[in-house]
């Protein structure tokens, strides 16, 4: 969604051509991200020959401030969708930055890894908006991501297993 998409596209901006093909997954309720992604990929295609990408939508895991119990239900529903999608894509690397949408995808990838089907490296970058506290996605994925990146020193102190590279978006 919105800010998350802008941030992740900035993260992608300096990645080499080797990071291909790129599979974008976002919430079905998201109206603006598709346009941003296509615009980004179009500019990229102007300078690199290898520009394969796909777009997939999954049900949104959780609305802002949705209650705990109903969040569990909607997240499970999202996992039902993301499991076959992740299985189909079999990513080597998952890059995510915080919308609820990323949790079911990462959990699906973890499951596929546990089952010996495909082991993906999970890299989570917490949003630049998060200075003192982690988002809910961050609190969950801090324990499951291979690399958990924060953008402010306070968070690095609170979450010692995290990686601090300064502001990267």
């Amino acid at each position: 969604t919105g800010g998350h998409t802008t941030e992740i596209l900035r993260l992608l901006s300096c990645l080499s051509e080797s990071y291909s093909p790129r599979h974008y997954i976002f919430a079905d309720s998201d109206k603006m991200s598709e346009a941003k992604i296509r615009s980004f990929e179009q500019k990229r295609a102007e300078t690199s020959s290898n520009s394969q990408f796909t777009l997939d939508r999954i049900p949104r895991s959780r609305e802002v401030r949705q209650s705990w119990t109903s969040s569990v239900v909607t997240t499970l529903y999202s996992i039902l969708y993301s499991l076959p999608l992740t299985y189909k894509l079999k990513p080597d690397l998952i890059l995510c930055n915080g919308p609820g949408t990323c949790v079911p995808v990462c959990l699906s990838a973890l499951l596929l890894g546990l089952l010996g089907i495909k082991r993906a490296i999970i890299v989570y970058v917490e949003s630049i908006c998060r200075v003192e506290t982690l988002s809910l996605s961050g609190k969950i994925l801090y324990y499951f991501a291979d690399y958990f990146i924060v953008q402010w020193p306070d968070l690095k102190e609170k979450y010692p297993k995290s990686v601090y590279l300064g502001r990267i978006v």
């Binding site: 490296i121 908006c129 200075v131 506290t133 690399y147 590279l165």
Partner: protein
Amino acid sequence: FRFKESLAEELRGADLVISHAGAGSCLETLEEGKPLIVVVNEKLMNNHQLELAKQLHRDGHVLCCNCSALVETLQSMDLSTLKPFPPGQPEKFALFLDKVVGFQ
């Protein structure tokens, strides 16, 4: 104006920006190098949005006030005290990621 794709054009033409504490608004404005007054909505005090606004204020990049103090702030502000906001460095992320996946 409701959901314009980007305010970049408007920002470039502005001398001063007054905004809510939304991250996108704050960062876009600072990246254009424009002075920014962030108006904080007290009714949303528990909103994590405030974290970034508070930090930017602590670091001297923005002026901060609540709705009722806005007029006073505009009258007494000294924009020369604001520090420029250096851009983020996605290159550092790219370097890190290359090491992680084994591209050297």
